[in-house]
């Protein structure tokens, strides 16, 4: 399939689950708990999809969207949130994120945005 996903979340277990499930489906999955490392990685490589949590301790998802799309506007970013009307999620959507995922994540939506 040769498609790649970058997942940024402060919850290591969720990252492990995303990696395990999507690698089984044939995708290449990179994960990180550090949003800054994620931003750098997203800018350094061409991922087919970036998934970022909205609320993280050091940086929020909207900041990730801003930083990545400022330099690579074609990047497709999905934000993971417990509440779709969270102001940070709304800010990320307005900044150019392609969609929202309800926590912990939605397999179907991720696959659709990987098409």
């Amino acid at each position: 399939m040769d498609k790649s996903i970058l997942a940024i979340d402060d919850d290591e277990m969720i990252l492990y689950a995303i990696k395990t499930i999507f690698e089984d489906l044939g995708y290449t999955v990179k994960t990180t708990t550090d949003p800054m490392e994620g931003i750098a990685d997203a800018l350094a490589k061409d991922y087919d999809l970036v998934i970022t949590d909205v609320r993280m301790p050091s940086h929020n998802g909207a900041e990730v969207v801003d930083a990545v799309l400022a330099k690579k506007p074609a990047t497709r970013i999905l934000m993971v949130t417990a509440y779709p009307t969270d102001p940070l999620a709304v800010r990320g959507l307005e900044a150019g994120a392609v969609g929202l995922l309800k926590k912990p994540f939605e397999i179907m939506k991720i696959l659709e945005f990987l098409k």
């Binding site: 277990m13 969720i14 492990y16 689950a17 395990t20 499930i21 089984d24 489906l25 509440y83 779709p84 009307t85 999620a89 709304v90 959507l93 307005e94 969609g99 929202l100 912990p104 994540f105 939605e106 397999i107 179907m108 939506k109 696959l111 659709e112």
Partner: protein, 520 residues
């Protein structure tokens, strides 16, 4: 007849005619055809004659006999000898019995024993039954007996120590084909015989039984239910009602309902009760925090006050005045007159709201869209709206995801353990492979679900008045958050841009709305 000069001949003729006059016209002489009073007189006369023939005082043992009026019984009294009198003679007794005209049914053993007893003990034995007629057997016409399992599940006279009052029900519910009653075939009558040897005719006897009625059918000598329904039984008939009509509330008087057909509730459904209907369900009252499950349409003339506990699953369409604090799954459209508040609503078709209606809080999943007057309030809770996707499939995918997350966590545990103790590595590697295979299996199922997913990219969210900020709209997984109040607007998916766009609200072509009355 010409007059005869011979007086002896005349006496003979008159005597004969008098004798013939007593014989019943029907012909055969039988106990049943002779008037009882006449038989009585005959018997008494014979007894008197018997006494007069022995009228001279004697010390010998003697026997006296009485024949019952129906000629079915002969009673004897045995008198023992006194002084130097001769013992009672069996032969004399036999002659005495035969002299009465008794020809059948004599119990000679009893006679012998009685004679012996009477002579030896010098005891008078009274009313000894020495001859019996054979009683006729009545003919019994065919009749129905009800299946004993069809008793209502009401509280027994002697209830067990613990009673589940939720399940106590005064109704008997049957399924199509259930046996209701079986026929008891005709019992043939048999002629009896009097002690005089005459035939005694039998009687015809009809057992009263309830007759099968509506929605019943005959099958090989038994009556079966022709449809699912409520079994009704009276003293004159039984039948199946296709509609369970409850004249009151669903509460402890009625218990939980599980009915294969349509159900009509004249009252309300109280907290904690379960109503299951194999057809449609009409409730004239309100619905509290209960569970409703119906395969057809569901109509409540009032609303649902679910207390965040009510769960409704509807196979057809649904009508309600308002919905509050409940979870609803409906395959068909949902029609609500006034409000949907803090509820989780899922429909395979559309959510259609009435004039001045509002949706506030909760989650709405409507595959083909929503039409409402107002969504959200100025400072109200968030409202999430999802359209275009089959919520049933989505739910299965959530199951797949949760299963795979759990498996992935388990895989992590196993791998950590393998790192920590290399000696367990070989043992755990098989388990690790097993988990990986399971994850793969779940993923394959998820992919199959996604491939067959029913989508409607034409689904829309139509607002006739205002939609407030804090409303989240998703159509075919494309997100949109309402950030400022918008009026008279319809949201839809623009396939070209892959975004949710809005257009001015226009009245939709009227969809034929099923009548809520059709349940009844």
């Amino acid at each position: 007849m010409p007059k005869n000069k011979d007086p002896t001949l005349e006496n003979l003729i008159n005597g004969t005619e008098e004798l013939i006059r007593d014989i019943p016209l029907a012909g055969a002489l039988s106990a049943a055809s002779l008037p009882a009073s006449q038989l009585d007189d005959d018997l008494r006369r014979r007894e008197v004659e018997a006494l007069s023939s022995e009228s001279e005082p004697t010390n010998d043992g003697v026997a006296g006999f009485t024949v019952s009026s129906d000629h079915m019984l002969v009673l004897a009294t045995f008198y023992p000898p006194t002084g130097d009198g001769k013992p009672l003679d069996l032969e004399a007794v036999r002659v005495g019995i035969e002299a009465l005209g008794v020809t059948t049914g004599v119990d000679w053993e009893t006679v012998k024993r009685s004679v012996l007893n009477c002579n030896e003990e010098r005891l008078q034995l009274s009313d000894v039954e020495v001859a019996h007629g054979k009683k006729p057997e009545d003919e019994i016409l065919p009749y129905l007996v009800m299946n004993p399992d069809l008793k209502p599940k009401a509280l027994a006279d002697d209830p067990p120590t613990r009673v589940d009052f939720w399940e106590v029900s005064p109704f008997t519910i049957v399924k199509k084909g259930d046996a209701l009653a079986s026929i008891i075939p005709k019992h043939d009558g048999a002629m009896g015989k009097s002690v005089m040897g005459a035939d005694v005719p039998f009687l015809k006897h009809a057992v009263p039984f309830p007759k099968p009625g509506k929605n019943t059918l005959w099958q090989k000598g038994s009556v079966h239910a022709a449809c699912d329904g409520k079994f009704q039984l009276t003293s004159t008939g039984f039948w199946i009602e296709e509609v369970l009509d409850i004249h009151g509330d669903i509460d402890f008087h009625v218990g939980n309902i599980d009915f294969p057909g349509n159900v009509m509730i004249q009252g309300e459904v109280r907290n904690g009760f379960v109503v299951k209907s194999g057809g449609s369900l009409l409730c004239l009252g309100s619905i509290e925090a209960c569970q409703i499950d119906c395969t057809g349409d569901f109509v409540t003339r009032k609303g649902i006050v679910g207390g965040n506990k009510a769960m409704l699953r509807v196979g057809g369409t649904m009508h309600a005045k308002f919905i509050e604090g409940c979870s609803i799954d409906s395959k068909g459209s949902i029609y609500v007159s006034t409000s949907v508040l803090n509820s989780s609503v899922h429909t395979g078709d559309r959510l259609e709201m009435g004039n001045r209606s509002l949706i506030v809080g909760g989650t709405i999943q409507a595959q083909n869209g929503i039409s409402a007057f107002q969504i959200g309030t100025a400072r109200g809770p968030r409202t999430e709206i999802y359209c275009g996707i089959d919520f049933g499939v989505e739910r299965k995918l959530v199951w797949c995801r949760d299963k795979n997350i759990a498996l992935a966590f388990k895989l992590k545990d196993v791998e950590n353990k393998m790192k920590a103790s290399p000696e367990a590595k070989s043992l755990l590697s098989a388990l690790r492979d097993k988990i990986k295979a399971a994850i793969h299996q779940v993923n394959e199922n998820a992919m199959l679900l996604i491939t067959n997913l029913d989508r409607n990219e034409g689904a829309d969210v139509s607002v006739r008045e205002v939609v407030y900020p804090g409303t989240y709209i998703e159509i075919c997984h494309i997100s949109f958050v309402v950030t400022k109040a918008k009026r008279f607007v319809t949201f839809h998916l623009d396939k070209a841009s892959g975004k949710i766009v809005e257009k001015k609200w226009e009245k939709r072509p009227t969809r034929p709305q099923p009548s809520p009355e059709r349940v009844s």
